[in-house]
Every structure is written in C-alpha cells, then in structure tokens.
Amino acid sequence: MNGAINYTYGFSHGVEWGWPIAVYLLLAGISGGALIVALLVRFYKKQQVDTPLLKAASLVSFVTIALGMVFLVGDLEKPLYFWKILIHYNFTSVMSIGVMAISIYIPLSLIMCFYLFEKEISVVLAKKSQLLGYFEMVMVLLKKIRPMIEVLSVVFAVVICAYTGFLISVLVRFPILNTAILPALFVVSGLSAGTASASMVASYLFKEDTHSSDLKTLHVIEWPIMAVEIMLIAMLFVSLLVGNEFQQTTTVAFQSGVYANLFWFGVMGVGFGLPLVLNFALGKHVAHSHMAFYLSGMASVLGVLCLRMFIIYAGQTFSI
C-alpha cells in the first residue's frame, strides 16, 4: 500500500451482498451436493432400480436450485431486467459463467425428476390426455440418454457448487473471500448439506428406512466429508493468519464479536458439534433413534447456512 496518500472512505457503506445471497449459496450447495452424492452412490453400487435416495436427491436438487433462483433474482434491484444477462453475455464474469451453468443445470435436474417421478407425473397428466401423450413421447427419447444425463448432472452439480465459491473469491477487496480455498470449501460443505437434506427427505417422504444400506453408506461418508470441511476451514484461517497485514487483521472475525459467535456456535457448535454428540457421545440408543437422525441432519444444514452467512457477512465487513 501507498503510505504517502490514501483514503478510508468508501461508497458501499457496509455489506452489499446480504442474507439472500447467503441463502442462495446454501440452496445451490444443497442442490449440487444432494445430486452428487446420490448419483455417485448409484454409480458406485451399480444400481439399476430407482432408489428412494435418488428420488429424494432429484427432488431436493430441483426444488432448492429453483428456490435459490428466487432469492438470487429477488436480491437484484431490478429483478425484471434479469434477462439482460442472457443477451449481454460476458465471458470474463464468473456470474455470467454461473448463469450459463445454471441454465444447463436446472433442466438437467428437472430431467432427473422426470426419470424418477415418471409415474407420478403421468398420474397428474392423465386428465389432460394430450399432454400425457407429449410427455410419454419425450420420456421415450430421454430414457435413451439417461446414462449421459446422469453423468452430466454430476459434472454440472460440481460446477454449480464450485462456481458459487469462485463468484466471491474473485473479490480482491475482501481478504476472507479472496482465497483459493473458498471454491473447494463450498463444494465440500455443499456435499455435507446435500447429503443431510437428501437423507432426511428420503426417509421422511419416501419412507426409506434410516438404517437402509444407502442411508448407511451416506452416514459413513458424512464423517470424512465433515473432516475435510474442518480441514479446509482451518486452512482458510491459517492462510489469513500467515498472510499480509490485511489478511492478518481479518482473523479477528474468528476471534471476537458477532461473527465469531456465528462461527463458533453456528458453524462449529451446531454444524459439527451437535451431529458428533448425537451420534457418538450419547450411546447407541440415542444414535440410532429417529430423533437423532433428523436432528443431526438439520444441524448439518443449519451449520452450512451459518458458514455461508459467516463468509458473506464477515467477508465483506473486513475490507482492505
């Protein structure tokens, strides 16, 4: 920095991107994460039938990304001009790239829902026989390319999770945001929120037994994902701690004030602590109960929401 001359005044006055963006980042993470884990389980176990887990994941991923778009567009000061970004495409903008990825990803997640809810949709459409005819025609075509759609869905789900991290990591003014770790952290925390959401919906809506083989698998991979997440957060912290003077001053965000509380109680306590306690500290009886299953699932999602909130708010509060 230039010692000779400088200014401290800025025009933005505080946090420009607020909670709707944090919620959008959470929803995009859940959407991508759910689809990734469910499809990877399917590939890994070479499943041919449509499992409740995949049903749940498809539904979750489509609903959350659609809801996410509502938050994203709603946060614009001119939401009705949203289409402008589709005609003035800018290749150097992460947001433009993200919009392109989303406009491929949403149809993909919708097609996944078509595969898994074909019967249900047919029942609804049965009253309008013409529509049902079109739907069946489309499904015949779509079914031929299902393996390709599944692979593309995983690829774009990863892209969606990662781009949300890149979106804010390019903001050079904010040391907490401007790190290379952020996109990775967003993919991994998306996986954990997505896993939790998909398992809960599979059990609640599609009556999957909480001890079924699929949910057991998810339960097992949950802990390594969490470990990686904690490691990435630690890396983020250390990179700030050993960084330049501005990066170092931002570590206050982790140490005192509301953001530190959000981080330690929300991210660490609720997100990581609660599930660990419920599953390992209170004995097998509690760990295997329904209550523990839903509570720790919701705690994971809430923890990831707190993480997004922390990153968005603390990130923009500490600027250079």
Partner: protein
C-alpha cells in the same frame, strides 16, 4: 504537422465531441498511414493545492444529476489529528483502472469501457443492479444510483461535460487548480508536462488495476 496541431488543440478537438474525436483520429491515421494512438484519459489530484472546499463535489452532483445523499466524488479530510494545522485532503472517486475489475465482472456488460475514449462508464439501461461491480471494485467507489437503480461511477463526465467539449465539472470548478485532466497518450498534453516534473503515485497499486488517476501527495521536507 496537421497531426501535431490536432494534438495540441486537444481541448478544441474534444469540443467536437467524442464521436468526432474518434473520426478525426481515424482520418489522420488514414492520411498519414500511421496508426493514431487511442486516447487514454487521466486525471491528477494535487494534494498540495486542494483546500477541501468541496466545490468539485457540488459541481459533479449538479452536472451529472447525482441524487441527494449520493456522490461520484468525495473529498475526504485526511488531516492528521496530531498536526491539525497541516490540512490534508484526498479525492475519493473511480480510479479509471486500465484493467478494471468492474468491467470484467459485470454480467450484463452494462459497466463497460467506452469504445471511442476508453473511459470506464455505464449503460444504466442494461444494469440489473446485481452489485457485483461494487463488491469487485478494489477502491469501493461505485454505488447504485437511487433514481436510475443502476450502478454508477465517475466517468470523467463522459456524457455530460465531455460530450459538450468542456473539461469535467470537478476540474472546471476547482478554483485552486488541484485537478488536471487530459490525454495521457498525448505527449504534449498539460497533464503529461506535470507528471514529468512532479512526483506522483497511484492509489493502492498492489491491486494491479493500473489506475488512470494520479495523486501528488504532500511531502513534508525539513523539520
């Protein structure tokens, strides 16, 4: 010869408006077979001359119809409290970066570089007010105009004073000549003559955005 005359009469050429400036440059390039350099407008803020009167702020708001309570330009008082008699002010405004992050991140290309003048400016109709440019600008000098609901920055009065062939409003209004505006690509321009003889700095150069604004800081000599 004709070329030199055109360069020296820089402000008069500006008087023809930015469109004719472009065409003039083009015809000269055709005539001489030499490529005419595009203009690169810059500005100097001289801290030694600024007295903090804020005439520039007032002029800018009036000429560019900036809504009440908002500014494109702000003069911050940076007087050191321990030496209250040594007044120090600094201009806060868009730095007109050569590598402008605001242009890079704008998804709708509303924030763009004007083709004729190279000035970073806005097309308010295309702005969806996503605020990406605001958070991406390392200098925090963009804002959403309450009236137009579009992002905005100092654009050297591109579509107001400059279009009318006048100097930017802030420069025009400065009684103390603390502001100098001109084409950095024009060797003979007054702005370059000053930059040749005075020490000057760019604000926060570590961002690597190559600002076109230059600051001449107060440098204390002696005891």
């Amino acid at each position: 010869m004709e070329n030199d005359g055109k360069r020296r009469a820089f402000l008069k050429v500006l008087g023809l408006g930015s469109v004719s400036l472009g065409t003039a440059g083009y015809s000269v390039a055709l005539g001489t077979g030499k490529a005419e350099k595009k203009p690169h407008y810059g500005m100097i803020f001289d801290q030694n001359k600024c007295v903090g009167c804020t005439d520039c702020e007032v002029a800018c708001r009036k000429v560019n119809e900036v809504p009440e309570g908002q500014v494109r330009l702000y003069v911050e008082n940076k007087t050191d409290p321990s030496t209250p008699m040594d007044k120090k002010y600094v201009r806060v405004s868009c730095q007109q970066c050569e590598d402008a992050p605001c242009v890079a991140v704008c998804p709708s290309k509303a924030c763009h570089r004007d083709v004729k003048t190279g000035i970073v400016t806005m097309n308010p109709d295309d702005c969806i007010a996503c605020k990406y440019c605001i958070v991406a600008c390392p200098y925090d000098v963009r804002f959403i105009n309450h009236k137009t609901k579009a992002a905005e920055n100092c654009n050297f009065c591109l579509n107001t004073n400059l279009a009318k062939g006048k100097e930017p409003a802030c420069v025009e209004s400065c009684k103390y000549k603390a502001l100098v505006f001109g084409d950095l690509n024009d060797e003979n321009a007054y702005i370059n003559q000053i930059l040749h003889v005075k020490d000057h700095v760019r604000m926060k150069p570590t961002y690597g955005t190559k600002p076109s604004l230059r600051y001449i800081p107060v440098v204390k000599v002696g005891v």
